[in-house]
Subunit: 202 residues, 2 copies
Amino acid sequence: MNFPSKLIEDAVTEISRLPGIGKKTALRLALHLLKQNEAVTEALALAITRMRKEISYCQTCHNISDQEVCSICQSHRRDRSIICVVEDIRDVLAIENTNQFSGLYHVLGGVISPIQGIGPDDLKIESLIFRIGTGEAKEVILALSATMEGDTTSFYLSKRLKDSGVKVSTIARGIPVGGELEFTDEVTLGRSILTRINYSQD
Amino acid sequence: MNFPSKLIEDAVTEISRLPGIGKKTALRLALHLLKQNEAVTEALALAITRMRKEISYCQTCHNISDQEVCSICQSHRRDRSIICVVEDIRDVLAIENTNQFSGLYHVLGGVISPIQGIGPDDLKIESLIFRIGTGEAKEVILALSATMEGDTTSFYLSKRLKDSGVKVSTIARGIPVGGELEFTDEVTLGRSILTRINYSQD
């Protein structure tokens, strides 16, 4: 595209660096901002700059937090014997929304991915080991994505935690609630049979 | 969503004001920015703020331009007898990409839309009338969207230009090149028969 203005070209270039936003969408967003009040653009620019500069992370669980220790780690209502290991803050939000978990979290900041050059040292794994060695945790739930990278990370963590004395579990993989059997892929269906739940034993 | 940080909540709120971006996508974009170098966020913030503050428009055609008169209006290679009327800069870019038009443009800045409260006075219509009254234009091509609003604007403009002495035309509506007849909607197909092109007369 040949832009008639360097200013709009720069804005489109910068906006299209965002994931999932191409040049056309970037131009649409730029034109939208041009039509709005100047305050809208300023508020957006300020919000993202402040967020990037001033954001801090919980010293314990590495979740995003405005304080040194996040509200979940501070809360007296949470069960300190269970730590749920997740990839990033989105997973924390998703699990919190289920209202099914009252333990603590540990945010790894990613998963092991050789292709993207992310190894165990790039993640908050040592701090998890340290936390388990010194804390009150009795169980660690690995709540990572059911992808190759997620499974690799789960496997690595379960090996690292084997001798720590805590119970290590992973969230169940199976057919989604509301999902029909005939439309479920073979791997998921096979796994759901292998890891079936015994009604009679609870 | 209950965000653990006011900073990220503000950023998500501001990003999700953009058209087509909901809270979930906004959070994904915010987390992406957090993982990038600080310079990436600063460049984005600066580019959109500068664009909004410093952008200027061509005095003649109202297209976005860094100069008082845009490069198209300045060019000696363009045919000054034809003016193509479009809604916004995206349409200028799209038509320029076809390499089929060598005349000048006139950017209205929108279309007449009573629902959105946009009337003829909100668009650059008077300046188009003035431009035609004083310039070298012999033909005006109305290249507006084939929507209710676009058609209303075309109809309004054709009435306003009736006594100006210039030829007024509109871009053809019909089945798209590569489109199959059976999948074309009835209105388009009907219109394409009514406005058929006579091969024998050229």
